[in-house]
Amino acid sequence: MNFRPLKSSEIAALENQGCFSSDWSKIEVSDPFSTHAVHHVRFSGVVRLGSLGGAMETKAGETLTSGLYYSKIENCEIGNDVFIDHVHLLKNYRIMDRVVLENVDSISVNASSSFGNGYEIEVLNEGGGREVKMFDRLSAQLAYILVSYRHDSALIASINQMIDQHVKEKTSETACIETGAEIINSGIISEVNVGAYASIRGAAHLKNGTIVSNEHAPVFVGDNVIAKNFIFHSGSKVDGGALVDKSFVGQGVEIGKQFSAENSLFFANSEAFHGEAVSVFAGPYTVSHHKSSLLIAGMYSFYNAGSGTNQSNHMYKLGPVHQGIMERGSKTGSFAYLLWPCRIGAYSVVMGKNLASFDTSELPFSYITVEQEKSMLTPGMNLFTVGTRRDSEKWPKRDKRKDPEKLDLINFDFLSPYIIQKVVRSLDVLLELYEKAAKKQESVFYKGIRIKRLMLKSTRKYYEMALHIFLGNQLLARLEDMQEISSMNTLRKALSPVSHEKAGMWLDLAGMVATETAVQDLLTDIGSGSIGTLEELLSGLQQIHSSYDCEVWDWTAALLAERLDIDVEKISAEQLLDLITLWEKETIKLDKMILMDASKEFDESSRIGFGIDGDEAIRNKDFEAVRGVAEENKFIIAIKEEITQTEKRAAELIKKIQGLQD
């Protein structure tokens, strides 16, 4: 935009309209410029004004005449059709087009600032040592590496150097409020960059932060929010008196209802209400909805904290130095307590007051309960519960991120190689424990937790079921992708792995499932300098995420050879038929077990409290009026349909394969 000095007639008009400047020569305007939309404004320092006086519409649908009214503006550049009314101080800001600032105490930059970028957050270990320098393009995966790979100090230094360069580029003595943003009825806002179409309404105090917002995924900051040293990312909503200090709020995250967050990272689609988080790495889909929940010094993803969840990282020893990990899909029941350090295996449920430190990461899908003050693990139990199935189905449907660029790389596969490698390990662990246990033993110890001896043998069947379903899922996905299966040879060719190297370990990097080899290659490239910028690093992570499908099949092929002695390049029709039949049997069996679990929601005990003043008939009528009948429940219908589809898919493939020539 081109600017010119004010004409003397314009200065006179402005002064007549209550405006003041000690040096009008520092006030420049776009041409043409009309003074009629500038009233009672005190200008200070260098100020540039765009075209004002045009009609504009607020997000709430109110039509306004753009202009500057009853405000003090110091060292600012104001875009076209901006509405500024009753802003006590607007200082060192660039205000872009169609921005609304109304009834705000102050919006200012008082010193050079990086606007939250580069601010160190003490994640996971409250005693320090795992600090993350947050910035406006931080992803869950990069944060995971920064937090978890401290053993490689050169790597951390290299990444931090890249972040420092980014922070340098972001550092300025002026901030920006981008196109279409609105700040209304708010308190003090200092050193805060506000992205396009963000809406700040009634915030109490925002200091040293960046709000990354755009037209597709605007950010909302609401009543009485106090945030210091923060980054709010696109599509996030921080509302209801939330207190946010030294925290990163990722894409599609919601924080509100007086939640308090300190030194924490919240990644995609996390939700935090009522409770408190301190030094938390909340990976994608971490949810804490209830009062009295304290999440502290923990790393989670796809985690649901029940009411009154409490975690302890202190124990009056060397300070708050303990930490905990809850792998993806885990839950804590109401008033569940965990004494860090602990590592909880994926898709596990924790109940009761656990006073021991244990590691259950090799036994996913477990129930962790407390009996007579001792923590007890039931392996595999959570594989066939309704909750696990519902959760795994709902996550992809509840992705609230509307930003075309999604920073966090999320793999929603329920039975991924990461989980299945644990399943395979659990089969070996349980067998070993069973063989070593004496029959008179009621329970055995495993990595700090008790397992009832009786469960060691029987629960292996659940893990076997998960393994067979995974193998079948992968096989069927490939077979069904083939346009035409003309012979066993073409089929074998299609099933050939891309790489014949031995498949290694799989990692879950806060939602992204990847081979350890791929991640190590990326880290080596960082160390060697082949990857030297954040963009290259983020792109490298994206490439790993994109190669998942291909890597999965290679790993599955190796697993088939290892566990079932099947070489996919020499697979016979008989072996294929056996695999498909096993998949069909186990998938249906699991579905039936889930149906059984779902049916409990309609049994006698679920009816307690219904029909409050009536007899059994009234109770049943009341129950059916409120809860419906099992046969009409959408979830139950969907599982039954899945059983039908499983039978159909298996039958179709079996028919095709039976007709093939070798």
Partner: protein, 79 residues
């Protein structure tokens, strides 16, 4: 094995798993409603029956076993 023997041994397993005196367990007692078994104990009962009778019970069918007499009839198919 006759059903009376199965019944006695089933009650023994139930008594051990649910920490209940076997004399208080009726022949048609429901594990959940009458004996207060939770979902984990239901799984433990299946494991207990498997060990007691040295059988492998089909998981989904085993979970349908809700009472002492269900268990006796179910186990009778295996032994």
């Amino acid at each position: 094995m006759d059903k009376n023997e199965i019944l006695t041994r089933v009650k023994g397993v139930v008594s051990a798993v649910l920490k209940t005196d076997s004399s208080e367990i009726t022949d048609d007692a429901n594990f959940v409603f009458d004996l207060g078994a939770d979902s984990m104990q239901s799984v433990e009962l299946v494991a207990g029956f498997e060990e007691e009778f040295d059988i492998e019970m089909d998981q989904d069918r085993a979970l349908e076993v809700q009472s002492i007499d269900d268990a006796v009839n179910f186990i009778a198919e295996y032994v």
